[in-house]
Symmetry: C2
Subunit: 733 residues, 2 copies
């Protein structure tokens, strides 16, 4: 569907030494695109995607409520034409066209409008697909400046007069990048690329095919011929493909193909290995697969002096890419669903790899669904909050104010749902039907869990921020004051001077003695605590082995982030080497849903009571992408859309590192060794902050000392800076 | 789709003299049927139907919000099997089957369950059509005792345990009468019957075809051959079919058919006349049409001594039948939409003709849509209230408590919408986006319109009644007290001693001087007034020619009902003769949307600023059906489902009348002349009430005198009563 025109320059700019200033081509003229009611396409497409899950041939859909697109949608825009103009009209659905409120007879596909002021209006019905239009003229073109509504409340009185158009709520249309009339949204397909098998072991009518690494797509038989049964057993591990009775995905085909012809399976699957079993009457030349992927640019880059780390970064990038599809999904083998907590981490990783805003927006819209809200997102209390917080992050990284304005009413109704479920203390707790997830680890989910209060508090802060952006000034202070009173309450309730940590929960008024890592690490990178408490948590929780350890890459993400935020990059680097490196040592070609170093052999593949229940390619396994970009190269936005940003490179034990961090207007290139920092940014106003044992120097900028061996330097766009300095090895925050 | 097995006995029982007691066949064994989430099919089917409207070839959909079915639905039921049982499984959509929470691999179409207790669960996804299932075994069969939900909130923890199924809200499934596995709900089609043209006038390549009366369906060309354009201009009147530039519906076809073959048009149209124009290269043998209709039994019957009235009744019955389709629609030519106010009258007429409960239920469900409620039904304030009141009537006539329980939550959310829009006086008024319709007549729609308050008050009474039936005892008194306080407020505010009537409205605290018929006539048959005020209204409003007259059959319905309720059957009979008879004199073969006797010629066909905008076959034109059944034969239920009922025959100037009124358990046959009343009822406990100048007699029952020439007699089921009496000509209430 998409033309990927920007891949070329990436190879040019990786090495900072030879970095060229590459201007991205801007659209010279108005681009028409397919448009729809915002969120409609995302809901429809996610319904398609999330209902493709199978478990051993059985259909396995989500257990939460699915919404549908609006079946009947109005589109309109006002135009002033200085000369007559012909427009072409393409529509997905049954439709009519009104020009200046006058219905055009028939179903026009071309119309000429006279010069002057005009209102163009189309009304489209489509129950099966999303009502969508594509209009193209010389100056007229369908885009997100068009307005849409799902109830026009316009009626015609007995005398033929059109009444009360005024009360209709119009919003701006949604789009993605369906930019050609023939590029129908309903016909969306990702790209495919043929991949040959790497090794094939044959034993009579039984084959074990290895594609060399985790992959996703459609198995293809070449010159398949004959009659009988053909079975495929997929495995992310060899053991799984061989376990015909317990592998998670399989296909049983009935072949009746007298003449040899290629045969591509209908359903996409995730696998590295495929075991094929065929009846004697069936033969084929070979087996390959069509790799299915979303075309994305790897704008973020990272290389360093440690090859193991480089390998981890590459596998993490591949893992994230495999899970960045129609939407950010959890894992490619099993659910293939959009889980808000999983997606939240993908958003953050995405900002340091693809910087693909449409993927974030699609996912946020699909997760939200429509009104009425009758349960938490994915039914999970915490996942609702990640949805809010993800919007905060999205704005900070992208600066995309119009999306915030678009989604704000949906945020309000989602927050209303949450506020309607508070307990008498104004805190959240899991009510009937709410899944309090937090992590796959044994812990109490009862009553007021401190971790959930923190996420809720951050969600309220997000609401205040977005209310401001959406011009809902009345509610800015309302949400702010709710957030600040909740924050106080959290600390007063859960902070234990004895434990020097936030306690885990309070059940029916009784505080628990438990300390878990969750609330404590979030409190750090949410910056809800003073320095003293942060240090106390570091000592008594994060670096305390007697506090229950984290075994999912999901929560490792936050744990390592908290440690990095406190300057523990060296420690974290070792953790990454051990934990992610541990998976690599076990032969991982993508990162897993869960990894427990104490397990052995095929134990690693079991989960949910099933021997191969675990996903071996899970988005949340890719967090090194985020950690290296944000906490080693040290790049992050200080204001929305990287208008201002900070670069604080921390080697954390590496000899050198270099890479690129994408931003809305271009990339930020960083090279850092113990003696030299090189920076070039394509846009924005940056602040380089670093420590040096001796006075640093830069030929093209002045460096300011901030005391305590800390220095700062301003980075202007388009210029390359080379800073000579002397690394301070052990760095505290 | 349906087998109509009950038509035969109707011919037997029309004449009371030879009436036989016919037992309707009961289903001997459990009947499996296609089931779905209640309301889903109705919403889906109404979307299909309401988006078939065209205006001169242009698509013309509704201007209100359309909802969609739930795309993902769970079905379940618990069974105890005394022996193993095989079931067949048919599904519309992608699905899985769980037995006792265990997912069955693959997509089973047959399963054998062992003896014992079982939970059968199916989960179905279908975006395009409605998720629906049909299950058939020896004792297991899908029916409305199955439960459904659109969000199961059931998740599987890391250990494989299913968690929290408890919070899921299950409701009973919906169905219609798709009783065979092959009888797919998505493939619903009404019946068709070929009808030949009555006359054809040819002029070269131009034909004017007359089908003899108003009809609906698909035009068919026999042995159509050739190449070129073929145009059809439809007319409910000859003038319309001849007006190629202004007729409301038309079809332009491009024919390329070298070999002669029959050709049926794709779109259904309403017409009596069709003008065909063909290019010279096109020829055909003849033109006929396929009449499309919902098969329904004419259970209600009426014949009397006045042939004009008999003709009116027949045309009214045909008019109602034409408009009783997938749903009760307004009219067959133009909108073909479900308008709540129009449908409300169809429900009432239906109780005296088809007594087809499914049509009422389908229509009520389709009108309601789903949550969230964001506008009044059809955007019209009064139409929301008719929706509530229609449910009250439905219960009274049908006794169908389970439907009330099913729809009650939807009533609550609709009423919440209304209550959220009250003004400071606790009254309703038209806010932005609300259409205050009342009737097609010039009048103020501003502020607090007394008519709207009356409908609102009746709606609150309906809520109290239904809250009771649904077991929501807490809200019974809440709605009751709101209704009773509003009723007091209405009388205190709008009753004018000076005008001896309810005033029309109050705008910004200022009462209007206007008196219109609307509130006054509703107050009468709602029985909101004392006798004195009723008589005052009769004199000062209903029989007062200086109060603006009513020109739509729509409001004539209520005006004549009010007069009948006050014993003015003689006057009303004359009105019916004049008004409906007036249309017949103008050649009507079905009754119109509006009729103004002062208009002439083709003026009658104009409306909405278009020369043929008026519908000549409008459901609300059929009200004599209701009036004769309820106020002449005088049959109506006193308690739900006709367990108790009243028969008060009033000849109103006729020499004799006879007929049948359908009830849930059978029909009530009535014959009445000035000297004899004959009654036979198949079920229920009836009370015959009549006036007689002399002491009446009945061989098989005792008659009680109630004073004032009034007598009462109890009617037991299955018995024929013949009462000799002497009619009292002029009857007051």
């Amino acid at each position: 569907m998409r033309n990927t025109t920007t891949t070329i320059y990436l190879n040019l700019c990786f090495c900072l030494a030879c970095c060229l200033w590459v201007v991205q081509p801007a659209n010279a003229q108005e681009q028409a695109t397919w448009i729809w009611y915002p969120g409609d396409y995302e809901i429809w497409l996610s319904n398609q995607m999330q209902n493709r899950r199978t478990e051993r041939g059985a259909f396995l859909p989500p257990f939460w409520r699915l919404y549908s697109h609006y079946a009947l949608v109005d589109f309109q825009k006002e135009y002033h034409l200085s000369s007559p103009e012909e427009i072409e009209i393409y529509v997905e659905g049954e439709y009519n066209v009104k020009i200046d409120s006058k219905l055009i007879h028939g179903r026009p596909t071309r119309l000429t409008l006279p010069a002057g002021d005009h209102n163009i209006n189309l009304k489209v019905f489509n129950q099966t697909h999303v009502p969508a239009i594509y209009i193209k003229g010389k100056t007229i073109s369908s885009d997100t400046s068009w307005q849409v509504t799902y109830e026009d409340k316009e009626w015609i009185d007995e005398s033929g007069k059109v009444s009360d158009k005024s009360s209709t709520v119009w919003v701006n249309a949604g789009s993605w990048d369906f930019d050609e009339p023939t590029d129908l949204p309903s016909a969306f397909q990702m790209e495919i690329q043929p991949i040959p098998a790497q090794t094939v072991a044959q034993n009579g009518q039984q084959w074990l095919i290895d594609f060399g690494k985790e992959t996703f797509g459609f198995v293809k038989f070449h010159h398949l011929q004959g009659k009988g049964k053909l079975s495929l057993y997929y495995g992310e591990s060899k053991e799984e493909a061989q376990a015909t009775e317990t592998c998670e995905t399989l296909d049983h085909l009935t072949i009746d193909q007298p003449d040899a012809a290629d045969y591509v399976l209908e359903g996409s699957r995730a696998f590295r290995y495929v075991q094929v079993q065929a009846d004697p009457g069936i033969q084929f030349d070979s087996v390959s697969m069509l790799y299915e992927y979303l075309p994305l640019d790897y704008r973020g880059q990272f290389r360093c002096s440690d090859e193991r780390i480089n390998q981890i970064w590459d596998i993490a990038a591949y893992t994230l890419h495999l899970n960045t599809r129609e939407f950010f999904i959890d894992g490619i083998k099993r659910d293939r669903w959009i889980w808000s907590g999983d997606a939240y981490q993908s958003y953050l990783m995405n900002y340091y790899l693809f910087f693909d805003n449409p993927s974030v927006k699609r996912t946020l819209l699909a997760l939200r669904g429509k009104n009425p809200v009758s349960s938490h997102i994915n039914t999970i209390l915490d996942y609702t909050f990640y949805w809010f917080i993800g919007i905060y992050d999205y704005y900070l990284y992208s600066g995309d104010k119009s999306f915030i304005q678009q989604i704000y009413p949906q945020m309000v109704s989602m927050m209303d749902f949450c506020l309607g479920r508070l307990n008498d203390n104004g805190m959240v707790e899991g009510l009937s039907g709410d899944w309090v997830f937090i992590d796959w680890a044994p812990m109490s989910k009862q009553g007021e869990v401190s971790f959930e209060q923190l996420l809720f508090c951050r969600s309220l802060e997000t609401m205040a921020l977005c209310a401001d952006l959406a011009g809902d000034s009345e509610n800015v202070s309302r949400y702010q004051s709710m957030a600040s009173s909740l924050k106080t309450k959290i600390l007063n309730t859960f902070w234990s001077d004895e434990k020097q940590a936030l306690l885990h929960n309070r059940v029916e008024g009784k505080l628990s003695d438990d300390v878990t890592r969750y609330a404590n690490m979030f409190a750090i990178f949410f910056e809800y605590l003073d320095d003293e408490k942060e240090q106390a948590i570091k000592e008594h929780v994060l670096l305390n082995d007697s506090v229950q350890k984290i075994t999912t890459p999901y929560m490792r993400f936050y744990e390592l982030e908290a440690l990095c935020a406190m300057g523990e990059q060296e420690l974290v680097l070792q953790e990454i080497r051990d934990y992610w490196g541990g998976m690599l040592q076990l032969g991982a070609t993508s990162f897993w849903e869960k990894y427990d170093p104490t397990e052995e052999g095929a134990e690693h593949y079991a989960m949910y009571g099933r021997p191969f229940g675990k996903s071996l390619c899970h988005a949340w396994g890719a967090s090194p992408i985020y950690l290296f970009g944000k906490y080693y190269m040290g790049v992050h936005p200080l204001s929305a859309g990287y208008e201002e940003y900070s670069v604080e490179p921390v080697l954390g034990g590496l000899d050198w590192m270099e890479g690129a961090v994408p931003t809305p207007q271009g990339d930020i290139f960083v090279y850092c060794s113990g003696k030299e920092i090189k920076i070039k940014a394509e846009a924005g106003k940056g602040t380089l902050r670093f420590q040096s044992r001796s006075k640093p120097s830069c030929a093209s900028a002045s460096i300011q000392s901030k005391g305590d061996n800390t220095y700062e330097m301003t980075i202007a766009p388009g210029q390359e800076y080379v800073v000579k300095y002397q690394q301070v090895k052990s760095r505290g925050r």
